[in-house]
C-alpha cells in the first residue's frame, strides 16, 4: 500500500555532556529557539517544531501509479471481455451491449484518473464498478442504456444520480460531476480504493 506523507515534524535534538547547562530561549517571534550551552558558549538557532504539509506526492510516484493504473485497467478490460464468453447460466455472464457500455465507462474512468475499481454483476443486464475505503462506498451501475451513480457511508446513502445518455458519448460530461472537488488533491492510488469519496462534487 502506498503510504503518503503529508506532515513532517522537525524535532530539535541537542547532545550535551551537561544537560543542566542547556537553556532554551525563544525568539521574540516565537519562530526560533536558541539553545545556550552555558560555559561552552555554543549557541545554536533551530526552528521550532512545525508542520509541513506535503501537497504533492514525490514526483516519481504518479508515474508509477499511472503505469499501475493502466495495467489494472487493462486487466479489467480482459475480465469484462471474459464475462461475455461465459456460459449462459454463469452468474458472471453479461450481455454484449452491457460489455460495450462497461468498456466505454472504464476508458472514461481511466481517462479521468479514477483508480481502478472492483467490478461485480447483478446478472447479465449490468456491471457495477465499485470503490470503497473503510468509511465510504461509491458505485457506478452500468446497464446497456443507462448509468447510475451511488455514494454511501455505513449510515446512509449520500447521493444517487442517474445518467440517461442518448448513446454513451456524453458520459464524460456526466463523469465530471462525479470527480473530486478542486480543493482536494487528485491523485492516483496504488490501491483500488478511494481515499476520500466524500470529496466528490454533486
Amino acid at each position: 500500500m502506498l503510504f503518503e506523507l503529508n506532515k513532517i515534524y522537525i524535532q530539535p535534538i541537542v547532545v550535551a555532556s551537561d544537560p543542566s547547562a542547556i537553556s532554551v530561549v525563544k525568539s521574540a517571534g516565537g519562530q526560533m529557539q536558541q539553545i545556550d550551552s552555558g560555559s561552552s558558549s555554543v549557541v545554536m538557532s533551530i526552528p521550532t517544531s512545525q508542520n509541513i504539509v506535503l501537497r504533492t506526492s514525490f514526483s516519481s510516484v504518479p508515474v508509477i501509479s499511472r503505469l499501475q493504473a493502466e495495467h489494472d485497467y487493462g486487466e479489467l478490460g480482459k475480465a469484462l471481455h471474459e464475462m461475455i464468453e461465459l456460459d449462459v447460466d454463469d452468474e458472471w455472464r453479461i450481455d454484449s451491449a452491457v460489455y460495450d457500455a462497461a468498456r466505454y465507462v472504464a476508458a472514461e474512468l481511466m481517462q479521468n484518473s479514477f483508480p481502478p475499481p472492483r467490478i461485480f454483476t447483478h446478472g447479465q443486464k449490468s456491471v457495477v464498478f465499485n470503490w470503497s475505503d473503510q468509511v465510504n462506498n461509491a458505485y457506478l451501475t452500468v446497464s446497456s442504456d443507462r448509468i447510475s451513480a451511488l455514494i454511501s457511508t455505513p449510515a446512509h446513502i449520500k447521493h444517487r444520480v442517474e445518467h440517461l445518455p442518448t448513446g454513451m458519448h456524453n458520459f464524460g460530461s456526466f463523469l465530471k460531476t462525479f470527480q473530486p472537488s478542486d480543493n482536494t488533491q487528485r491523485r492516483l492510488s496504488m490501491t483500488s480504493s478511494l481515499h476520500d469519496p466524500s470529496d466528490f462534487a454533486d
Partner: protein
Amino acid sequence: MNLNRIANGDSLFRHCIYPASFQGQRFLPGKFFNIKENQEGILLGSLAWQRYLPTTARVHAYGCRLASNRNKGTVTAKRAITHTYRGAYHITTDSVRALKGTENLQELVSADVVHHIEQGEISHVDLRIILKPGVDIEATKTAIIDRLWNGCSGPMLHVCPGDSTDSRHGAALELSPRGAYLDDRSRITTLWFRIRFRVLTWIWQMGVFRKQFI
C-alpha cells in the same frame, strides 16, 4: 403461536460460499447477497433464521450443507466448480425491513423476510423485496445490496470438515462495516433457543409443518 412470523429484531445469517461471492480469491460484498428477480418481478434472496440455527455450530453446519449441495452436479461444460463454505455474516430482520423508507431508496414497495423451508432446510428464509413499477432495477439492486452489506456484522469464519486447510481458506472474507459479530445472548436465552429448536424441529419432522407450508 405463529410459527411462520419472523419477529423484528430476530437474527438472520447470510452464508458465504466460494466462488459465488468472490472474484478470484477476492471477496466481493456486492456479490454476497445475490439478489435475483423472479418471474413476478420480485427481488429474492436467501438467508437463514437463528431460530432454527440456535448455535454457532449449527450456523456453520448449514453453510457446509449449502456448499455440499451446490457441489452436486455443478460441473459445467467449461470448468468444474468446487464450492466451499467460508463463513457467515449476521444481519437482523430490522435491517431488512428498514430498507423500505431508507433515504435515497424510494423504489421499494416492501422489504421483508419470510420463513420458507427450502430443500429440506427448516432455517431457510426468503428475502423478498417488491419494487415500484418502472424503476431502474439494476441501480436499485446496487442500493439494496449496499444497505444490506452495511447492516451486516461478521464474518464468523469456518472450515468445513474435509475442506482444504489452505492458509488462505477463510482469510479472504472482509470485515463488515458493523464490525465483528458478537453473540450477546445470555446463557438462559441460548438454552431456551436450543430447547425451542428441538421442539419445533420435532414438530416439523412429525409432519405438522409440512401441512402448514404446502
